[in-house]
Chain length 467, copies 2
């Protein structure tokens, strides 16, 4: 480009950016450049010993395993192949079994919103005629609760899946993962209500939307989920709290099939639900998470999942092993008028698997609009992504940010770095009412507790010591 | 938000941003802060006199008229109401008339790509059996050429519209404007080729796509064009060179109607054409431009339009009066491999009406991806928007940029500022081959010549002097 006199004025644009950021910093009363001076792991001697082993004598093994883990995440390209009744595809989802989000939990300890969703699912399945009767069945243990994650299924928020619900089937080679269809707004199960209208909607899913989606996918052929996500990331989505643009990309993929298959109500639902793509991102992320099986020695986080009571974390190096702690409160959030933090349920949902593969809270820089949910602006959103880069093993080559000059999103959360820096993954999430059964009351960022990451790397170090 | 230790690390994000921008500045070898020191209007004495009158004794009248003009642009909300045969809705588009982009031009002077498009349109209409015969008709003046803009019609690039082509009809109250359906990629008329396949596509538009769109809009109801554009602006579109996200928003609006109306080929075309929304933005922008009728005394630019030979500019204060100059060369562009600037046609198309209402080149900050077409990055894109703010009367309240903390795009190009600062509107545009009939060879930014803006304000000053 020939230098022109008018490019001189670009200096003004810089000044604008700077001033904005400076305001943001001032507004948050943030002091400057101290993070590197904090003692590692807050100076905890036991943790320092664990970290010394994991960076020291096991450093080479862990490093190689982590590089392998990142390569597996980045190399996994799940495609949406069909939509089918959960019972017909999800392993072990038999009659009398209900899946839920988060680590394993007994009925007595299930939080209020998840409880309501489970009761609605029992009614939907016809296993009980009323919610009271459903509660008896669950109390008596006549219905089995299982974490969706242990059945290759992930669900947002309450994350309930029952055998008759249609689910997305995504696959990469022989590896498959599943997620329910997103229910959208209202008194839905995922938001912890599950009223009669929500149960009717599930029947519409089962009888109309699900079968039509299956026919659309059959007509269209498989859809590359992360391919769409990578585009949506440069259309203002971070793919967890906001998937609007990516949902529209899905609609573009399906448009010709919609014309062929028809179904006004189904098309209207797909187009009208801003979160419709969320569950696809989740299923694909779960698929990538499953690809980490066998990365022995890796401290990369393969799973973060919450049930509103506890958060469970898993490492690529120890597949299937939960490290749990009380679920976070979502205090970095915007609540709807009249609601206070006391009303809020604790952090809930399987959706944090999204952050494990480099989207959601890792990719906040992509979605300045989302920043308003935690009182921030575009610079604050970008800074959150950079913060997450501190605890990740790599930058994604698949998910890049045009508005950050094509830098990749942070990918491969290294539990060692989480423990060392005491910086935990931030999950962009909705907030449910904790007890009134009124559904979503806000959205924001859930900062995960450090305890399960500490416990996980302690176990990993012990396992590596024993080898 | 509670201050947390980790917010300290935001400083790194600042550093990243700074460094990137500094690199961009260095790469462009740009000196710093001199723009305010240049003599106004390059020191031209005649122009200084005109500007002195327009800012001085006419300043109040012009300022009030410009504020009115901006209010009219911002207050205009065109809705897409239907798609219909051009002859049935476009005033004066009778049998034997062809519309073209840009200011009026005689057949002998029409540039090569526009000539090819006109010949194809004659064949499409069945007025001639061959392009040679079509050329004879045009040479003999048996077909009338007219600028689309004088018939409330705008078309991208060659901008050809013939009576049987279906056109978008947008309206705001009693005010209507029109644009053809975007033809998409290939050897199309808008790209200055118009081969037999392109003519077949026009028949598909006339017989299938157009009527189906009309039925879809009837089923859906009118669509707020700028409402969608405002959303798309925060999904990576600047709405001139890139309309992908906004096109998907349109698809979302139409999804249920697609299911009802059917038509696989039509749906596939709408979904597959990345520029499908462009012509809607143009028609809506033209509608807003028409709303400027009666802003007497205003120096706000109501129209910039090019035919590949000349650019014509109009001011809100002198509606219908063209100020012309040779069309710009699009030298700030990325050309496809093997092509050089010598191959490129001059700047062409009615689409610059988009820049007149605050989108396209005004909104480059929204679309960092587009920046790559002129060798820039996100910071360069943002700087281009700030440069345009220098020559605009206001910031849009309708079109705001989330990635710039919701600042509005510059709106209401003030021809006084253009002449004074010698900074002309930048139009994001495609580049056509100038003579080989091979269609689009690139895309970039066309910097308009200053001459027509100078001529326009000279005439405006004279008119105000006479009052």
């Amino acid at each position: 480009m020939t230098p022109r006199a008018d490019v001189l004025t670009r200096v003004e644009a810089v000044n604008l950016g700077l001033s904005t950021f400076a305001d943001a910093l001032r507004a948050q009363d943030a002091p400057v450049v101290q993070v590197d001076w904090r003692p590692p792991a807050g100076g905890d001697a036991t943790m320092l010993d664990v970290l010394t082993r994991l960076w020291g004598r096991h450093g080479r093994v862990v490093g190689a395993a982590n590089a392998d883990a990142v390569a597996r995440i980045e190399g996994c390209s799940p495609r949406a192949v069909t939509v089918a009744a959960a019972s017909s595809v999800v392993p072990g989802l038999e009659d009398g079994v209900l899946l839920h989000s988060g680590p394993p939990i007994a009925w007595e300890r299930v939080c209020d919103p998840q409880r309501r969703a489970l009761l609605a699912a029992v009614v939907f399945e016809g296993w009980a005629a009323s919610r009271a009767e459903a509660a008896s069945l669950l109390e008596r243990g006549e219905i089995t609760l299982a974490p969706g994650n242990e059945h290759d299924h992930v669900g947002p928020m309450t994350g309930v899946c029952s055998p008759s619900m249609p689910v997305w089937v995504v696959e990469d080679g022989a590896r498959r993962a599943f997620s329910t269809l997103n229910e959208g707004p209202g008194n839905t199960l995922w938001f912890g209500v599950g009223d009669d209208e929500a149960v009717s909607r599930l029947r519409f899913f089962r009888d109309d939307l699900g079968p039509r989606l299956a026919r659309m996918l059959e007509h269209r052929g498989p859809i590359d989920v992360f391919g769409l996500a990578a585009q949506g990331l440069n259309m203002g989505d971070e793919l967890h709290m906001r998937s609007q643009a990516t949902g529209n990309l899905l609609l573009r993929e399906l448009a010709a099939s919609i014309a062929v298959v028809g179904g006004e109500e189904a098309a209207r639902f797909i187009a009208g639900n801003h979160h419709f793509f969320l569950n696809l991102t989740m299923a694909a992320s779960k698929c990538a998470s499953l690809a980490l099986d066998g990365c022995l020695g890796s401290s990369v986080v393969s799973l973060i999942s919450r049930n509103g009571v506890e958060v469970g974390v898993q490492l690529a190096g120890m597949p299937g092993r939960w490290f749990v702690a009380p679920a976070a409160t979502v205090d970095d959030a915007l609540l709807r008028g009249g609601h206070t933090a006391d009303d809020a349920a604790r952090d809930i949902g399987d959706s944090a698997v999204i952050e494990c593969i480099g989207l959601g809270g890792m990719a906040l820089a992509a979605a300045p609009v989302v920043a308003s949910f935690f009182g921030g602006n575009a610079a604050a959103a970008a800074a959150r992504t950079e913060l997450m880069a501190q605890i990740c093993a790599a930058r994604s080559e698949r998910f890049t940010l045009a508005n950050r000059d094509h830098v990749g999103t942070p990918v491969g959360i290294d539990a060692r770095l989480v423990a060392e820096l005491d910086v935990t993954p931030q999950i962009t999430t909705g907030v449910l009412h904790g007890h009134a059964g009124t559904g979503q009351i806000g959205a924001g960022v859930a900062h995960q507790p450090v305890a399960p990451f500490r416990a996980a790397i302690t176990a990993l170090a012990a396992e590596l010591d024993g080898d």
